[in-house]
């Protein structure tokens, strides 16, 4: 076939794979609970598409084509497993309506991704694996890419993902949307997992390391999927708003030479206005629900920062108030260090240091932002020697070379 045809087919495969991966995996695994087999079947289907589509043309409904091919592959796998009796209902489900003619005319099959998200963040699964599981099963990221982001050896990440999927298949983890009494806690785990993929830019604290995971796009995509599936949940909208605010500042975080610029020194003209506008809309809608939670409060703090683009100043007392609300629902180290930085701006460095001193010393031995804030405040009080010691700790714990350089300059 001609090259245009081939290119067209490859592009379609790429697009369908990206957009439909999670939908297909969720649909294929919702009855079998076997994520690994569903993923294998889908990758077989994608290989088959790469063989057929360039020659025969892209089918009218590519997603349905993939689903049919994946189903056939999955039936083969299950038959090979020789557990025919137990698998009967599964095979029945897989073969029902599985002729291509039926599927290529009906574009709809149920979107089971919400169930899949709840499975990935189930309390029986190691919380450290919630995000990697989501990235793999919903987005189709490979273990090596996930391993990079989470600073884990690729082989180890592969083994951990395999173990988690074995546990899911082993049973006890239902593929369902939790009932009302459990829902808030279960949803929180899903939100936490998406947020963990994003990794926050701690740039509201001068010189704190950013710990970004290079998965911001993926995290925002997951949040958008979740919002589409749960449009009435305020915290889902709050999380998306929070990520959009932070993402909007990405172009302002480095100068032309790649040097780190803390939030307070960023030029608001470099912030992405379209993302801030979108964040504002989501946050306003979230607040209308009247259930204010952690992510809405964090987004609200970022919203105050974003206002500097219009007013030219930062309303630190408003930020302090939002942090005080936030501390009632989350006592994470990052929240407390951020609160200290905000208090210092609103009420002076002594007040900020007092907040820092209330944090247990053991907890911050590995926590870079604490030392960056402490160094900054001690410097403002003219305590040069103590400030230098704190700068050293912040420098030693920094991972991002640009942040490290920035702190070394500040230390002097």
């Amino acid at each position: 076939m001609n090259e245009i045809h081939q290119e067209d087919a490859h592009r379609t495969i790429e697009r369908v794979a990206r957009e439909s991966y999670g939908r297909l995996v969720a649909y294929l695994s919702v009855h079998t609970h076997d994520l690994a087999s569903a993923e294998d079947a889908l990758s077989n289907a994608l290989v088959s598409a790469l063989n057929h589509w360039p020659r025969e043309g892209v089918p009218k409904n590519p997603e349905a084509w993939l689903l049919t091919a994946a189903r056939h592959s999955l039936i083969d796998v299950i038959r090979h497993q020789q557990v025919v009796l137990e698998s009967e209902p599964t095979i029945k489900f897989l073969t029902e309506n599985s002729t291509e003619t039926t599927l290529s005319t009906s574009t709809q099959f149920p979107d089971e991704r919400l169930k899949l998200l709840f499975v990935c963040a189930h309390p029986a699964i190691d919380p450290a694996m919630h995000t990697p599981l989501m990235l793999q099963t919903v987005l189709g990221l490979d273990a090596a890419r996930i391993a990079q982001a989470f600073l884990i050896a690729p082989k180890t990440m592969g083994q951990r993902l395999f173990r988690a999927k074995t546990k899911i298949r082993g049973g006890g983890i239902p593929f369902e949307i939790p009932q009302a009494p459990d829902l808030p806690e279960r949803l929180d785990a899903v939100l936490e997992a998406i947020y963990a993929a994003f990794g926050l830019g701690w740039d509201d604290m001068a010189g704190a390391d950013q710990c970004g995971r290079d998965l911001a796009e993926e995290a925002m995509w997951l949040a958008r999927v979740l919002l589409k599936l749960m449009p009435g949940e305020a915290e889902v909208q709050g999380l998306l708003a929070l990520m959009l605010y932070c993402e909007a500042r990405r172009p302002a975080r480095r100068d032309a030479k790649g040097r780190y610029i803390p939030l307070s020194e960023q030029n608001p003209e470099k912030w992405l206005g379209s993302l801030i506008d979108e964040a504002e809309r989501h946050l306003a809608k979230a607040f209308q629900h009247g259930h204010v939670g952690r992510f809405q409060l964090e987004a609200a703090i970022q919203s105050v920062h974003a206002e500097r683009a219009h007013t030219g100043r930062t309303d630190w007392s408003a930020i302090v108030l939002f942090y005080e609300q936030l501390l009632k629902v989350s006592s994470a180290l990052g929240t407390r260090a951020g609160y200290a930085a905000a208090v210092a701006e609103a009420n002076g460095p002594e007040a900020g240091l007092a907040v820092l001193e209330s944090i247990h010393a053991e907890a911050v031995a590995h926590y870079q932002p604490y030392w960056a804030v402490q160094a900054h405040l001690l410097r403002r009080l003219g305590k040069t020697r103590e400030a230098s010691a704190a700068y050293d700790r912040a420098i030693g714990l920094a991972e991002d070379p640009a942040v490290r350089e920035f702190l070394i300059q500040k230390r002097g």
Binding site: L151, I152, A153, T156, A365, H366, A389, Y391, D392, R393, A394, I395, G396, L397, A398, E399, P401, R404, E405, L407, I408, Q409, R411
Partner: protein, 124 residues
């Protein structure tokens, strides 16, 4: 559990050793050392002289073979190592990422094998 962080330098980074005490590059290493000690994970460390000061010895078929320079002819060469006491390899990788050497050359993390050493050295 103890881990070795083996630090590999590019020729440029070996050059930086000539910088004076106040240079930012050395400031990064000083900060890193302080952070390791304060976090109570530091066990020991050593730096190695430049690769060209190395000499590699082999005995093959009863004959001595001596070669100028380091064992492997690669751009990045072992420059030193740090031994840390940590609960897991995950924690060791976190510290490796913070190592100033990781953003110029490379840092290899490997668990120490005290069992292999005991058996090899004493036969017990």
């Amino acid at each position: 559990m103890q881990f070795a962080l083996m630090i590999y330098h590019t020729p440029e980074e070996f050059e930086m050793r000539k910088n004076d005490y106040s240079h930012p590059h050395l400031g990064a290493w000083r900060g890193y050392y302080k952070a390791l000690v304060e976090a109570k994970v530091y066990v020991s460390a050593n730096a190695l002289e430049l690769p060209e000061t190395g000499t590699t010895v082999r005995v093959k078929d009863g004959k001595r073979r001596v070669q100028d320079g380091p064992y492997a002819d690669t751009k990045e060469q072992l420059a030193g190592f740090i031994v840390l006491e940590l609960p897991s390899v995950d924690a060791a990788l976190e510290w490796a990422a913070r190592c100033p050497g990781a953003s110029i050359g490379a840092v290899e993390v490997r668990p120490l094998a005290p069992e292999a050493m005991r058996r090899g050295f004493t036969g017990e």
